[in-house]
Structure formats: C-alpha cells, structure tokens
C-alpha cells in the first residue's frame, strides 16, 4: 500500500537552495477537503487558500469515476471537479505539510490528485507590514507547536 510511501515522502528542494518559502499546491477531491483542513489545522497550519477548480489527469486511457460516472474518455466528460489548496510554508515545513495532505487525501482510486511545490520569493502581511519569516509565521502555529522552523 502506498500509505507508507506517502508518510515518508521527501520533497526535493535542491533546485532552489536560497529560497526560504515554498507554496504547496494540492489538487484533491472536493469532499476530502474538510479532512485535509482538519489534519493541517491539528498540526498548526493556520494559513491556506482554497478554490474550486476543474481538471483532468488521464493516464493510459484509464478513467476516473466521479458521481457514479466515468470521466476522461470522451471530450464531454473530461474535466472533473476538484478542490485546490494553496499553503505557503517555510522550507523546513514542506515535507510535513506534503505528507499530511497526501495521506489525508489518499483513497487509492484514480483521481486522488496531485501536489506541486513552487518557490516563493517573499511574504507580506498586509495589516502590519511585516515581511519574510515574520509575515509567514502564525502565532500558535506549526513552529510554536512542533518547533519545525526551517528558515
């Protein structure tokens, strides 16, 4: 079962040695969102953005099932509803966040989703004008709870 692999996944950030922040973009099944949010929240991830999107991910003609119907074959049944979640975290927290999202979204069926990790140059909190690590850090969040820093 891929659960063990997901729990031990490590993200290769070596292409961006100087980058302090990364955006973890997860495309998942919409009804898994509440589980994923709850798990992230429990680990102190308190900042995230979620949007409704549609997408396709067709491998070798195999079809994804959504609402009892096969998707991915013909052009009229191609795009499937997904939820997109964006979380910006510090370098050292990327692995933890990816593992939490991946295990919480996993069902083992085609269409479980994908996770992309993007570099982020800087962060600005609009209310206070803070930038960088100060703006990224959430009081009572993952750094306070677990000590995982990374910057």
């Amino acid at each position: 079962a891929p659960y063990k692999a997901l729990e031990a996944v490590t993200v290769d950030l070596s292409a961006f040695p100087a980058c302090n922040f990364f955006r973890v973009e997860a495309l998942i099944r919409p009804w898994r969102l509440s589980t994923v949010v709850a798990k992230l929240n429990a680990s102190g991830i308190r900042g995230m953005t979620v949007s409704d999107v549609k997408g396709a991910g067709v491998q070798g003609g195999r079809k994804e099932r959504y609402a009892g119907t096969e998707f991915g074959g013909s052009s009229d049944q191609f795009l499937v509803e997904k939820a997109r979640m964006d979380v910006v975290v510090t370098r050292g927290q990327v692995d933890t966040v990816v593992r939490i999202v991946a295990t919480a979204a996993h069902t083992g069926q085609i269409g479980d989703g994908k996770i992309f990790v993007h570099p982020v140059a800087d962060i600005i909190r609009i209310r206070t004008g803070e930038t960088g690590p100060l703006a990224e850090r959430m009081e009572g969040g993952m750094e306070d709870m677990t000590g995982i820093k990374g910057v």
Partner: protein, 343 residues
Amino acid sequence: MAMVPCPSQRLSLSSSIKSAAPHQICVSRPSRAPRRPAHLAVTAAAAAPQASKALDRFSAFDRVSVLSEALPYLQRFRGKTIVIKYGGAAMKDESLKARVVSDLVLLSCVGIHPVMVHGGGPEINSWLNKLGIEAQFKNGLRVTDAATMDVVEMVLGGRVNKSLVSLIQQSGGAAVGLCGKDSDIIRARQMVEKDIGFVGEVTSVNPSLLQTLVADGYIPVVASVASDGKGQGLNVNADTAAGEIAASLRAEKLILMTDVPGVMRDKDDPSTKFAALTIRECKELEDQGIIAGGMIPKVDCCIRSLSQGVSATHIIDGRQPHSLLMELLTDEGIGTMICERPL
C-alpha cells in the same frame, strides 16, 4: 424459528423480535401514509404494528422511552439519502423480506430518503430453469447470452422489482419501481473483454429522476439492468450499481445487505467481526489475505463509492431481522462500517 439461520448473533433485541408475527406487514392501516411524512407522530404509527405478544411485556412507557432514544439517530440522518442494496437471503425469506420492507417504510416516514437497488440471482435461475435455459457462470459472473438477458430483464424488472414495490405499497410506503434503463439511470458498456455476453460495467449514472422522486417522498426501487444507449439491455452487478447510484446522489450511506455478519478476521468466527474499518485498514487486510474471496468485490465496491464522496458504507447481515434499523439506529450496529474516519 427457522427464519434466523445464524445462531451466532443472538443479541437481546433480536431475540425479543424473533417471536414477533411474521406477517405483521399485512396489518391494515386506516389510510395510506402521506407523501411527505416527516414528523414523529408518524414514527409511532409506523412502529406500532411491530408491537406483538412479545412486546406486550413492555409497558407503554418502556416503548415510548425506546422510541425517544432513537431521536439523535433520526435527527442525524433526517433528509439524508441512504442507498440500500437488497439481496441474498433477505430476498428469499418472506418474513425477512417483510421486515426489510417495513424498515424501509419506517425510514422514509421519519424523513430519511431510502433508495433501494436490487439484483435477484436465484429468481433468475429458477425462471431460466422453467424455460429450459442452462445457467452458466464464469469466474462467478453469469454468462449472459441474448436469451438469458431477456429473462434477466423480465425477471428483475418485472417480477422481482414489482413484487418489492407492491410489498412497500402494502405497508404504507410510496414506491416507484424502475430499472436502470428508465431515464437512463444506469448507462453501461458491455464488458467485451470478459467474454461473458451482455454483462455491463457502469459508465454513467443519471440521478435526476431519482432526485425528483426522492424529493417528493417516493421510495425508488431500482433493478440492476442498464441501458447501453443503443437499445441493448445489460446485466450489471447490483452491488456496483448501488455503489454508483449512491455516488451520483452523494448519499450519506451505502448499505450492502449480505449473507455474512460483516467483515471478519476469521471468516468462520462471527465474534471476530470488525465493527468499523477505514479504507486504509481494508487495504491492509486485503494485502494480508484476511479480506478474501467474495468479500473483495464488496469491499472494493465500498471503497469505490467512498472515494466518490459517499460518507459511510456498511456491509451488514441481511439474515438478521431488522438489520437495517439495527445498523442505522444503534451505536453497535450489526455489520461492518467502512468509512474514512473511524467511529
């Protein structure tokens, strides 16, 4: 009584119900239930015919207390859709059949929306026999040639479906019998690769007719015959059909009625039954070979509909009287619940 073939699970509730009259369902009612019944007074009315000699030793207060204890469950599932796959022993035994039907009507009376999906293998076999057609199976699946398909469609859509509808009507529910061809509820493609004739894999489900019926308080009863879009009927597995219909309705629950107590660690020992499993635990048990044989397609069917957004799936023992209510309205349940988060 012979109607409880499984001696293993003599729970206190079932033993008190066992002596209830088997034909309680035929008790005449002053009038048929209203189309949108959703208040508790109706609950009491629906439960009343259950009161037989065995229940006489309970005082009126006892009975009312038990009813009021069900309130949190009724509230939790009110307005939710529950897809029930009906089959196996519960389908053959008349008294079990009557109980399933009365459970269904009770659920519908308290504002829960049941949708019934059924197969009917034994009934098909007996009609094939009468017509002198030999039933053939290949890897557990029925080889369905054109003549067999005609019989399958007639028996499932005509006889089995309509007898369930009329039983529900008799016990005061409002049932509408359909097969997958009606309004293209189930569209399928022929599984040519398996070379077993007109057996289909579900390609799409159109839930709009079911949603209309459910919203108006009807109980849809769907036979697992699908259309291929070109006029050919296809025989689809009733578990799969139920799972996909549950997914299309974004149902709260999918309940598969089977002839076993549930998923068990040792398949011969009902005391090793799992009350609840997650998808992950199911996969691990499959890898260990504990979930094996005929249980694999059932569990996979559950996982398939869970991954499409059904909140919980249940594999229950259809041989137990009132297994539906036991699973829905008690904490212990009667079978195995598979869902994402454990209880």
